[in-house]
């Protein structure tokens, strides 16, 4: 692996009594789109600020491009930030905002004009230079903030929940645009969000955080399909999570039945949690069903129906189906062994990865 552009080595940080970062280790490769995903207060913004320099760490080291930068002030770090509230200077127009960073250096006027024009162009705001900030819409402000950051040609761009203030439609457009911009510029993006959909859609790699700890990292698919624990499973997408017992390798028991699965490497009869994604459950006839449920309600979500159902033991199930099913009807539910994902309690990411390694190579 090439030298990481950012490396956090056993980084801790607390404010008074509350510890916001607990022994964080993290490596980011150049040129990728990373996302820190977690609920508010999970410590993701603090990680971002240790990289931008607005937060000093209590313990551990922060490396940028191989150099330890713990003591380097923010204005001398080769990263730029797009702030959550954009932080556009209201006393300057769009042009001056974007040009701000360059005017601090001894860049010639003509050069500044050229680069501002090009930066505005790359965020689709040609000709907005003379606008006042107060005249801009939320999306336009967002773009100006991005232009102001990328004009500095940083090696890395930090984005602190930049889309959270936008409406759903604009948000979706900006997701595409950001992804496209990152690929075009080829620089590392570290993006913060609490929106799992956004994270899944945009990232090369996601770090799921809670309570100052990185719970799991991996590609969107990895994390979606194989969440490490209840929190991640619940936070990333919708899921049915049930208590179960691992009877032996590849056999798990839940809702009083044994099912074949693809997980292994656990103690026999170990209590576990089982995750099943709603879209992996298929509705069939009662006879063909591995489970029998009664339909409670359903919501039409556009591309699918979101169906809430209850099995005979009283467990609730969430099922995504392309077809509508009448309410109160009894139907069968079926799934494949690889639709079952078994999670151990309190398993660390390292152990999880190691265990996966042992039996996945068996296949």
């Amino acid at each position: 692996m090439a030298q990481p552009i950012v490396k956090l080595n056993h980084v801790s940080k607390s404010y008074g009594d509350s510890t916001v970062l607990k022994d964080i280790n993290l490596e980011l490769e150049a040129g990728k789109f990373y996302t820190l995903l977690g609920p508010s207060g999970s410590g993701k913004t603090t990680i971002l600020q240790t990289i931008s320099g607005f937060t000093s760490v209590d313990a551990g080291d922060v490396y940028f491009d191989g150099q330890r930068i713990n003591e380097l002030p923010p204005n001398r770090r080769k990263v730029n930030t797009v702030f959550q509230d954009y932080a556009l200077f209201p006393n300057m127009n769009v042009f001056d905002n974007v040009a701000f960073g360059l005017t601090l250096q001894n860049v010639k006027k003509a050069e500044i004009t050229r680069r501002v024009t090009s930066a505005l162009k790359s965020v689709h705001l040609n000709g907005y230079g003379n606008r006042e900030i107060s005249e801009l819409s939320g999306g336009q402000k967002q773009r100006v903030a991005i232009a102001r950051a990328i004009i500095m040609e940083p090696k890395m761009l930090l984005l602190d929940e930049p889309l959270s203030a936008l409406d759903a439609k604009l948000r979706r457009d900006m997701q595409y645009e950001l992804r496209e911009l990152q690929q075009r510029l080829g620089i590392t993006f570290l993006f913060i969000t609490h929106d799992q959909e956004e994270a899944l859609a945009m990232s090369d790699e996601i770090f799921v955080m809670n309570d100052g700890v990185i719970l799991q990292s991996g590609t969107p698919v990895d994390i979606y399909d194989e969440p490490i624990n209840h929190f991640v499973a619940n936070f990333i997408g919708e899921s049915n999570i049930l208590n179960g017992v691992m009877r032996e390798d590849y056999v798990v028991e839940f809702v009083g039945k044994r099912f074949e699965c693809e997980d292994a490497g656990m103690r026999p009869n170990e209590p576990v949690e089982v995750v099943m994604r709603p879209e992996d459950l298929t509705i069939t006839t009662v006879e063909n069903g591995k489970l029998v449920v009664t339909i409670d309600t359903q919501l039409f979500r556009g591309d699918y129906y979101e169906i809430a159902a209850t099995d005979d033991d009283g467990n609730e199930w969430l099922i995504h189906s392309t077809n509508s099913v009448p309410d109160n009807s009894r139907v069968g539910v079926t799934f494949a062994p690889n639709d079952i994902h078994v999670m151990r309690f309190n398993e660390s990411e390292e152990d999880f990865d190691a265990r996966l390694e042992t039996y996945e190579t068996d296949d």
């Binding site: 320099g53 204005n75 006393n91 701000f100 960073g101 102001r148």
Partner: protein, 272 residues
């Protein structure tokens, strides 16, 4: 229709107030300024004012001292407001700074007489450090010192409010884009708190133009401003016409200051 009459109705107390306590007095002052001591219409007051070296000198004096007071007040208040906005219990500290404004001006002036006189605390200190007692009262220094002390809360308040409106993220953004502390101050903090500074300058400069109590109590009448002249014309000479004329000149001076510092609202209007 109903809401319109209601709005009009609610406007009555304000317009009454405005008329009784703003428009009418100013009109009266203006009217009086055209009357001579025998209540005959005349322009003589104005010719007297603008032909008299004394009054013109006094005007210059007033402007000069007001400028000095404002400048010193600003130099002290700006860093204080900045510091204050970064303190933990800032509302408490702010209260402590505002507290002296609850005390009567005269009381404060007398307190300073006690501090600055020959046997006062200030001179005791000077003696202690070996400088020996100095004449502190009745000097320009003591006058400006006390005037500044009295005006500081009125300067700190608007600047503090502007600082509070100044989100930390603006400062972070500036640093993030490579600005040093000084560049951040010059390019971001100062321009964004300028409306507060302007408001402070207005609230300090304008009353400073016509201080007269302090000129006597602390300045020993060695500092003479237009306020002194107005006081004399109204209370001793009873030449209300001339007093009003000086008043009109002061009002015009204030309007000029307002216009000069007044473009604050048109640009950089903050939205929270």
């Amino acid at each position: 229709m109903k809401s319109k009459t209601a709005n009009l109705f609610y406007f009555i107390p304000y317009s009454l107030w405005l008329f009784l306590f703003v428009v009418a007095p100013v009109a009266l002052i203006l009217y009086n300024s055209f009357l001579d001591i025998n209540h005959h219409f005349t322009l003589a007051n104005y010719t007297t004012f603008f032909k008299s070296g004394t009054y013109l000198m006094m005007t210059l004096n007033s402007l000069w001292y007001a400028l000095l007071i404002t400048l010193v007040t600003l130099l002290i208040s700006y860093p204080t407001a900045y510091l204050l906005s970064h303190l933990k219990h800032k509302q408490l500290w702010l209260l402590l700074i505002i507290l002296p404004t609850w005390i009567n001006l005269l009381l404060k002036a007398y307190a300073f007489i006690g501090i600055f006189n020959q046997t006062g605390v200030a001179n005791q200190f000077l003696s202690f450090i070996g400088v020996g007692p100095q004449q502190l009262l009745f000097t320009n220094f003591s006058f400006i010192f006390v005037a500044t002390y009295i005006q500081i809360p009125f300067m700190i308040m608007p600047i503090f409010n502007a600082m509070e409106d100044l989100n930390q993220s603006y400062i972070n953004a500036s640093h993030d884009l490579g600005a040093t502390n000084w560049q951040t101050f010059r390019r971001v903090i100062w321009p964004m708190t300028l409306p507060g500074v302007k408001a402070g300058v207005q609230t300090v400069f304008i009353p400073s133009l016509s201080l007269f109590m302090l000129t006597r109590l602390i300045g020993g009448n060695k500092v003479i401003t237009l306020g002194t002249a107005i006081e004399e014309h109204f209370l001793i000479t009873m030449n209300w016409g001339m007093g009003s004329t000086i008043g009109v000149v002061l009002i015009v001076a204030m309007v000029i200051i307002m216009v000069l510092t007044g473009d604050a609202k048109s640009r950089g209007g903050f939205q929270k």
